[in-house]
């Protein structure tokens, strides 16, 4: 007796529950690794999955087992070549040796780290958890492509609301013509004739029988060839199409003078990553432009942007001028959606802040989709600057800009969770 079953079409991911439990178990280690890996990653790569390795300590499964050392043991090995009874073989130094081959390694793992691949979703989940993103936004960011139903011809199956009446009627007409469905007029003509003859009470009119027969024939033909047959019915078909995306450019502006330390840069990086994820969701192509500045600004690559150090004063306007220059040269607002994100510790050269505000108001903002500014502070300072009214020159100047433009957002950030509110409006407005 036998029975063959094709299981290939069964639902996959039988282990999803186990996997979720596993990730939950090792969450702390995984999160730590993710934080480390964010530092090492390019902004544009954050959206992909990652192979990470975590210490086995947290996910070790202990059981009572023999130690690999100590005591007397014996093992049988195969393939003897030259040994005879009583031979002595020097033990390898420093290692645990062969141990007689008796003991298997603990399910193939040593003390090495446990490596496995995180999917994009799992990675982002943990990344977002740090940033304390609202659920709706999380979901939004994880879906790479928005789709929109688009007309795509006709189908024979569908819901009544999508009935394509004209197409259905056209099919019906064609079929009626080909199958010679008697038209209403034809039947009416015969019926009128019968009525006329009957009215004249010419009972024995010779044609009457023939007329009855014809009427009967016409009616039965009409019954056979329906006016609308299920065959004719067509429904409008919709297919999900990715939304027409165009291209965007994202400017990352950062102060790299000495006062920006590791922590500040790490926060800034998260800030940029989040904006990039948002843009990735909406645009097919995103160019990243990194502009760093001290008292002068330059366009650099990502590594230099985050990891090399410059000394010098701080003139914020130099970066804005550089950005305007780039926009003029390469990214015409007619073709590109322009986003900018600026991170700074809030210092600026005396008198420069007003110039910044003027530039922003007159030249930058009219060309931009969105401008997000974060001032990265020490966690202790956050308390001092709780009131948005107070602040250094740059902060005050930017407040004027924010007052006049909806698409300008600014925020003081002391820890990772503070970053999201900068974008709140961006997400709310676009996705709401």
């Amino acid at each position: 007796m036998r029975h063959f079953i094709d299981r290939r079409l069964n639902p996959k991911d039988k282990n999803l529950g186990n996997r979720q439990r596993f990730i939950r178990r090792a969450k702390e280690q995984i999160r730590q690794k993710i934080n480390e890996s964010i530092q090492g990653r390019k902004i544009a790569d954050v959206g992909s999955g990652e192979t990470i390795s975590i210490p086995t300590r947290s996910i070790h499964e202990p059981h009572f087992r023999h130690s690999r050392q100590g005591g007397f043991r014996e093992g049988v090995l195969g393939g003897n070549k030259e040994f005879s009874t009583g031979d002595r073989i020097r033990k390898p130094q420093g290692g645990q040796g062969k141990g007689g081959g008796k003991e298997g390694a603990d399910s193939g793992e040593g003390d090495d780290d446990f490596q496995f691949a995180l999917t994009r979703d799992e990675f982002l989940d943990l990344f977002f958890e740090d940033l304390e993103l609202p659920d709706l936004v999380k979901k939004d960011l994880q879906e790479l492509h928005a789709t929109k139903p688009q007309r795509a011809g006709f189908t024979t199956a569908g819901t009544p609301t999508r009935l394509a009446i004209r197409r259905t009627m056209r099919n019906s007409l064609g079929r009626r013509l080909v199958l010679h469905r008697p038209a209403d007029a034809e039947l009416e003509e015969v019926e009128a004739e019968i009525a006329r003859i009957e009215a004249e009470e010419e009972d024995d009119f010779p044609g009457l029988e023939a007329l009855y027969a014809r009427q009967e024939a016409l009616q039965s033909r009409r019954r056979l060839v329906a006016f609308i047959d299920p065959l004719d019915i067509r429904y409008r078909n919709y297919q999900p199409r990715p939304q027409p995306n165009s291209k965007a450019v994202m400017f990352c502006l950062m102060d790299v003078s000495g006062s920006m330390g590791e922590r500040e840069k790490d926060l800034a990086k998260r800030f940029f990553i989040l904006l990039h994820l948002f843009l990735q969701r909406r645009y097919d192509r995103i160019d990243l432009v990194f502009i760093r500045h001290t008292h002068q600004a330059s366009v650099v690559d990502e590594d230099t942007f985050f990891y090399s150090r410059e000394t010098g004063g701080t003139v914020v306007s130099s970066a804005i001028v550089e950005m305007l220059h780039e926009i003029k040269e390469r990214y015409s607002p007619r073709e590109w959606n322009i986003y900018a994100a600026q991170a700074s510790d809030g210092e600026n050269f005396a008198g420069d802040s007003d110039y910044c505000a003027k530039l922003m108001l007159e030249e930058v903002m009219p060309q931009l989709q969105y401008y997000a500014y974060v001032e990265i502070l020490d966690e202790r300072e956050i308390e001092l600057f709780a009131n948005p009214q107070v602040g250094a020159a740059l902060w005050r100047s930017y407040r004027d800009v924010a007052a006049r433009h909806d698409n300008f957002a600014m925020k003081r950030v002391g820890r990772a969770a503070d970053i999201y509110p900068v974008f709140r409006e961006l997400f709310a407005k676009r996705e709401g």
Binding site: R8, G78, F116
Partner: protein, 518 residues
């Protein structure tokens, strides 16, 4: 290996090339079945063959090869590891997985070629299947009829507990139970508990006997002065242990029955893990025989099909290639060496039994007087498959010839010495020692540490006393021991102490504790 020369009458091969269809697999199955039942005379459960994708194979790996299993993070861990290894190309996947159930479920990979399907069906659906149905360990200890229902129940029960008591609560119990899983099996059948009626009868019989044989004279006989009267504490301890059936080596069972702190659902979780461990225990004891049996069966069947002309030469070559991969045994100094390959050892021994039965040498008459030259190798093999486990099988059947062929030798390792000693090799003096030493290596009773509950004073300090009987001075891995003790403590709820006692001298080597709340 020699491909037998084709018989005169040849049928058309059932297939050419590698593609398979369900129709073809059906026909292959029928032909295999004819050889398996009529030629070999196998006795099998009905077969349920399932074609699965590689992803599903990975899923099956993670859940210990079972079609359904309760959820636990360790299975997720296993899945993540296997998936990564597979995707990196470090390890391939098995061609098949077979489950000891009735009907006997075997999973075949969709990527297998038609030739491999033939091999796999012969191997799993007939070889393993016959072994599961006939070997005494499986017959005694596992219930093939109900395992799937049990797994389904376990999954639902664990799920319901998670919902009711929270993931962490359930996880804590399962983690602890998994840590003790190796010590959650019964190795021997216990005598059934006497019923109340039997107890009553026994008691009255004893009372009658005492009355009948009462003699006042005994009272006047002085006690043996060398044996001091037992103290009250000793008597109490003795009775306590008797009531708890101590010593007890099934730790999970003991906790399930006597742990003072567990709730009913927690006891049920322990019981589930324990039953799972018990279900797998026969498989651990019969790795060599089970694979040897299946490999021998597939080898015989495909050769028979080839002789009938039902397999083309190309298919046969592919099958032989896979077969020799499976029974590949690197030598001990090869970097690929990782112990003896159970497939090789098992297959060699099965072939060797056939040889002893049909073409014995003088030596074989001396070593196997009951077996040599009896002629019916099918019966001899089936007898072996039914009545032995690895340890006893090797002890009984490993022949000097095979020891010579595989060039087996015994290496002894005394940890204080700076060298290994070659204790015995494949020569006249060494055969018995090699055989014994190899057999012992396959006995879980020897390979697993001997750990037993020896005392638990539920009315006193409630400390659970566990004893590790140290064999040959081999200690436990101390790091793992302490972690596992913590798990034991968690389930017990009060303190736990473990002593390591040397088996031969009885001296206490080490003591370790896991205190409550530590």
């Amino acid at each position: 290996m020699v491909i037998a020369t084709p018989a005169v009458k040849r049928a058309e091969p059932l297939f050419e090339g590698t593609e398979w269809t369900f129709d073809l697999v059906h026909r292959l199955y029928e032909e295999i079945e004819i050889v398996a039942l009529e030629d070999l005379g196998l006795d099998v459960y009905p077969n349920q063959l399932e074609i699965i994708s590689s992803e599903q194979m990975l899923d099956a790996y993670a859940s210990l090869g079972m079609p359904i299993l309760y959820r636990h993070w360790s299975f997720g861990k296993r899945f993540a590891r296997d998936q990564r290894l597979y995707q990196k190309g470090v390890t391939g996947l098995a061609y098949e997985i077979v489950i000891n159930s009735n009907p006997c479920i075997s999973y075949n990979m969709e990527d297998n070629s038609a030739a491999l399907h033939t091999l796999v069906m012969a191997h799993a659906a007939f070889g393993h299947n016959h072994f599961f149905k006939n070997n005494y360990l499986f017959r005694e200890w596992t219930d093939a009829e109900s395992i799937l229902d049990f797994l389904d129940y376990a999954r639902r029960f664990v799920g319901a507990c998670e919902e009711r008591y929270g993931l962490s609560e359930v996880e804590a119990v399962l983690d602890a139970a998994h840590a003790l899983m190796d010590h959650g099996v019964f190795r021997y059948h216990r005598r059934p508990e006497p019923t109340q009626k039997e107890l009553q009868e026994r008691r009255s019989r004893i009372a009658d006997e005492q009355e009948r044989s009462y003699n006042d004279l005994w009272r006047t006989v002085p006690r043996d002065p060398s044996r001091p009267e037992p103290t009250l504490a000793e008597i109490e301890a003795k009775e306590r242990k008797k009531a708890l059936h101590l010593p007890e080596e099934n730790l999970l069972y003991f906790l399930e029955m006597h742990s003072p702190n567990l709730k009913d659902w927690q006891r049920e979780l322990l019981s589930i893990v324990r039953q799972l461990a018990q279900y797998f225990y026969p498989q651990r004891q019969t790795k060599v025989m089970n694979e040897g049996c299946a490999t021998f069966v597939h080898h015989h069947i495909v050769n028979a099909l080839y002789e009938k002309g039902l397999l083309s030469e190309g298919a046969m070559l592919e099958i032989l290639h896979s077969h020799s991969n499976v029974v590949f045994q690197p030598e001990f100094d090869d970097p690929r060496y990782s112990g003896l390959n159970p497939y090789t050892l098992g297959f060699n021994m099965m072939c060797d039994i056939k040889r002893i039965v049909t073409e014995p040498k003088d030596e074989d008459y001396e070593w196997f007087p009951d077996l040599a030259g009896t002629g019916d190798w099918r019966a001899a093999l089936k007898h072996a498959w039914a009545n032995y486990r690895d340890e006893s099988f090797i002890q009984q059947y490993l022949s000097p010839k095979l020891i010579r062929d595989m060039r087996l030798f015994v290496l002894a390792d005394q940890s204080e010495e700076s060298f290994y000693r070659v204790a015995d090799i494949h020569d006249e003096r060494g055969y018995r020692h090699v055989r014994q030493s190899l057999a012992r290596g396959y006995d879980p009773g020897t390979a697993d540490p001997d750990i037993q509950v020896v005392d638990a004073d539920l009315r006193g300090d409630r400390v659970l006393r566990v004893q590790h009987t140290v064999r040959d001075g081999i200690p436990l891995d101390s790091k793992d021991r302490d972690l596992a003790l913590k798990h034991l403590q968690h389930l017990w709820g009060y303190g736990v102490s473990m002593v390591a006692v040397d088996r031969d001298t009885g001296t206490v080597l080490e003591e370790s504790q896991a205190a409550k709340g530590a």
